[in-house]
């Protein structure tokens, strides 16, 4: 009878009786494990505060991985004999959580919103070289320090008053079982969170729920997941090489009305560090806190400000207003310098790696220097007034990109290199010192220049003092003791004046030496001015709710085609940094295999979609999204048709990226494949009217 009653008892009651018999009640459990419970609450609060100051949300959509880590710490504590050691363990765990979060918040804030990924570990040395100030989030540090202080104090004071922990063998066995369970859960979560990665098919990225922020897995959870992914799930399967081969040579770039306009020209491409239109342009609507604001304060009229700007930036205006210059008015970039640099030289970039470090010696026959060298015997050289080894350029530019030489500040005659005292090198000095090597008069050349003066941080620099004086003389952006943002803009624009001087040196030299008529000069900004939030301030855009959010990433691209009479056209269609490479090739009249090129010529009727490797986002001028199920910004005039078109374009782009991943991982063009590429490229260019199918047939023959 008794047995029957016992059998009839519901599970809940059975469980209750079990705990009663073993002397464990919820109350005693909580009392005994007060330190553990408080630790869970404290660490969650610290983590959520970190998420709030980065992603703007006080929750995680996928907290499971993070929770397994917390659970693991809790279970480890159960093996410790007393409250003293448990207290120490929890305090260390809290401090570790706080420190990790702080590091990634600083990275996030100082890079304009980069979420940690495994490949970023390659950049750690470069990052340390440019650290100038650490933007500690007040909210995070204050709240977390308070939580840790409270935990530390109250835990310390109470640790002797709470009942002794249960260290019975049964409890240990239960803990061991739970630990195994948590570790198993952690393993499964890590596996199923990453197994979807398929190097041959990246289309899942368009449907993923991840937002590309810390509000998914949390900061610590993301870090852990990235370590797991980077170490065990990032292998790229080269797959079917025949399919890869056919894919590469399947399509060729289209011709446009501008194809060959700069045939046989010299090529100069200048990556202007953090260069934005508001460096020298007045636009009250787009840049309400730019020159327009300063002018409004002084009651200056627009025309007089523009006249003054033309005095401060005569060479940029000379370039911008030239009849031979094509202005890409609606161009965007959302990447870091190294990625923009590569994209403008090779037209693509793989996912998950930073190629300067991961593939510094790969063979890239389709890079602009390699194409020009092998097709026309043109020598290419790269110049940068920064540190030689930064971004591993000294190896990557020569070995992979195909430049004959890479000249850095160490090789230049930079007499006032005061970087040790907070100065940046002056671009004008680099141009002055290297102009003869940059623009040789005895041969056709391809020169790539990466500037540095406009690089953050934007604080007073002694070597820019003459520019401050010029600005002050004209009353442009005066120093304001109470306005840090306005001052950052002032320092930034003064650096822009040195870029202007550098451009002047180049234009004068080219003209004096008769090179201006047959040189194609491309000037572009690698990314917006994310340092100190200057771009946000000038454009008054602080989050994706702004009706013109993508404006935040609009950067200048200007191409001067010799001294041709083009009528200073302004191209209004969406273009991006990916389009620079195909546009240069289009102007040079070089046809390439378009499946290796993410962008399209600015003069073609097609438009590209920008995928940001650094920020894991797709974008055009009308849309900014992580996946089609997580559209962060959509312009009011983007309809369903537009979305469908974007989805199609993004799918094509992802297909290209997956193939490029394989090409890089396998170093596909090493050896005979590079020769084949050059041969086919020559064949295609010898018969420009060849269709893709003809090219294919020719290849097979």
């Amino acid at each position: 009878m008794e047995e029957q009653t016992e059998q009839k008892q519901p599970f809940k009651t059975k469980l209750k009786n079990f705990f009663k018999k073993s002397g464990v009640t919820l109350r005693t459990f909580l009392l005994t494990n007060y330190l553990m419970c408080a630790y869970i609450v404290a660490s969650l609060l610290i983590e959520l505060t970190g998420i709030a100051v980065t992603a703007g949300k006080f929750y995680m959509t996928e907290p499971w991985l993070y929770l397994t880590l917390i659970a693991f710490a809790c279970l480890i504590s159960q093996f410790l004999p007393g409250h003293k050691s448990r207290y120490a363990l929890f305090l260390v765990a809290l401090l570790a959580n706080f420190t990790l979060d702080l590091i990634f918040i600083v990275v996030y804030d100082s890079t304009g919103g980069t979420v940690f990924d495994f490949a970023m570990l390659n950049l750690r040395q470069d990052a340390m070289m440019i650290v100038e100030s650490l933007p500690f989030s007040f909210t995070y540090v204050f709240v977390s320090a308070l939580i840790i202080a409270l935990y530390g104090t109250i835990g310390f004071m109470l640790r002797k008053r709470i009942p002794a922990p249960n260290v019975a063998n049964s409890a240990r066995i239960t803990t061991a079982a739970l630990t195994a369970l948590v570790l198993g859960g952690n393993f499964l979560l890590s596996y199923f969170g990453n197994f979807k990665y398929d190097s041959n098919d990246l289309s899942y990225m368009l449907e993923q729920t991840e937002t590309g922020t810390y509000s998914n897995k949390g900061i610590v959870g993301n870090f852990y997941n990235e370590l797991v992914r980077g170490l065990w799930f990032s292998e790229i399967d080269v797959g079917d090489k025949k399919e890869l081969h056919d894919y590469i040579y399947k399509e060729i770039t289209d011709t446009t009305p501008m194809t060959g306009k700069a045939a046989d020209y010299n090529v100069v491409t200048i990556l202007c560090e953090s260069f934005e239109w508001f460096t020298f342009l007045y636009d009250a609507q787009r840049y309400p806190n730019g020159f327009a604001r300063a002018a409004a304060v002084k009651n200056d009229d627009m025309q007089s400000v523009v006249n003054n700007l033309k005095k401060l930036f005569p060479n940029l205006y000379r370039f911008y207003d030239s009849d031979a210059t094509v202005v890409l008015d609606n161009s965007y970039s959302l990447n870091k310098t190294d990625i923009s640099e590569n994209e403008s030289i090779i037209g693509n970039y793989p996912l998950y790696e930073y190629i300067n470090y991961a593939y510094p010696e790969n063979t890239l026959p389709y890079s602009l220097p390699n194409i020009l060298k092998n097709m026309y015997g043109v020598e290419s050289n790269s110049f940068h007034d920064g540190t030689k080894t930064f971004y591993n350029r000294n190896i990557h530019h020569v070995k992979a990109l195909g430049f004959n030489s890479y000249t850095s500040s160490e090789d230049m005659d930079m007499v006032t290199d005061d970087t040790g005292l907070g100065e940046r090198n002056l671009d004008s000095m680099m141009f002055e010192a290297c102009k003869e090597d940059m623009f040789p008069t005895d041969r056709r050349f391809n020169t790539y220049i990466t500037t540095i003066t406009q690089h953050g941080q934007y604080a007073y620099r002694e070597n820019l003092q003459p520019y401050y004086e010029k600005m002050d003389a004209l009353g442009i952006l005066p120093y304001n003791e109470d306005d840090d943002d306005a001052n950052a803009l002032r320092f930034y624009c003064a650096a822009g004046m040195d870029l202007d001087k550098a451009i002047g040196i180049m234009l004068d030299y080219l003209e004096e030496n008769g090179l201006a008529d047959n040189t194609l000069i491309t000037l572009f900004g690698d990314h917006n001015v994310y340092y100190q939030g200057v771009s946000n301030y000038v454009k008054n855009i602080y989050n994706s709710d702004a009706p013109n959010y993508t404006e935040l990433y609009r950067v200048p691209v200007m191409m001067k085609v010799g001294n041709q009479t083009l009528g200073n056209p302004h191209i209004k269609k969406f273009t991006c940094v990916l389009d620079i490479y195909p546009t240069i090739l289009d102007l040079l009249g070089v046809t390439v295999f378009s499946n290796l090129t993410y962008g399209v010529s600015a003069f073609s009727e097609q438009t590209s979609v920008l995928y940001s490797r650094a920020y894991s986002k797709f974008m055009t001028d009308k849309i900014y999204f992580n996946s089609m199920s997580n559209i962060i910004y959509l312009s009011a005039d983007a309809d369903e048709d537009y979305l469908r078109q974007i989805k199609r374009s993004a799918t094509v782009l992802l297909d290209k990226i997956s193939h490029v991943n394989r090409i890089f991982a396998d170093d596909y063009f090493k050896g005979a494949n590079a020769t084949e590429y050059y041969n086919l490229l020559k064949a295609v260019n010898d018969a420009p009217a060849l269709s893709a199918h003809t090219a294919q047939r020719q290849r097979l023959a």
């Binding site: 204050f142 005292l421 620099r461």
Partner: protein, 263 residues
Amino acid sequence: MTEATPDTNIPAASNVAATGGETEQPVYADFRVANRAVPPSEKRKAYGMLVAAGVTLAVLFLSRLIWYLEPALDKVYYGTLSEILYYIIIGVLFTAYIVGLNICVKKACDTRMFKPKKPQMTITRALGVIAVAAVAVFIASASFKFKLKLQIEMGTGVTMATALTNIAVYFYYAFHLWLGLAAAALVQRAMTILVPAKYSLPWGSIFLVAVFGLLEFVCELELTDHLYPSMYYLFTLAYAAVFELTDHSFHLTYWTSVAILVL
């Protein structure tokens, strides 16, 4: 005012003397009467502590004169390094002084200055200490538009060399605070001996704000170009509050104060 509690660093005999062997604290009508009840030997120790506090204050002040060696330091290495050299010299001198002071006070006054004592802390008081520190940091940050003072002081656009100099300034301040608090603790102990009462007056805190803080403020204002001297002076109010809340515990006060000072 806090209720007087036997200071474990002061020999038990002094308490016995002060209370006349009673378990209850005596209530004196007048400070002078109370002072007369203190045995001369205890008085000597107390005066010794006051002298030590005065010397400490003088060392703090005179150490600034080393800055006048700047031209000589510049000859060693011109630039930011000479400033760092100055702070290194200060660090060495202060460390030597602290060791010397500890030995002298132990010998002359029979008290160990930096021996950690178990503070008579309740959770309420501990929360009070955290609250004082949090309010001080919050107000300071609020005055910088909610940026940490540390971030402002470290500066934007600084290189590693200037960052090192700025970090050296924090060490300099930390040393100053160590000596200042040591002087305050000595004053507190000395005055508790000299003026025994049921409730000890916050002598150390008064000293911290009215003498140490004020002197630092004037020196900073006149002699150095460190940032925010007035803010640092106001911080001494927070240090004093923490000193009282921790029942005059040197180490708790010091580390809490350092956190306020840096953040």
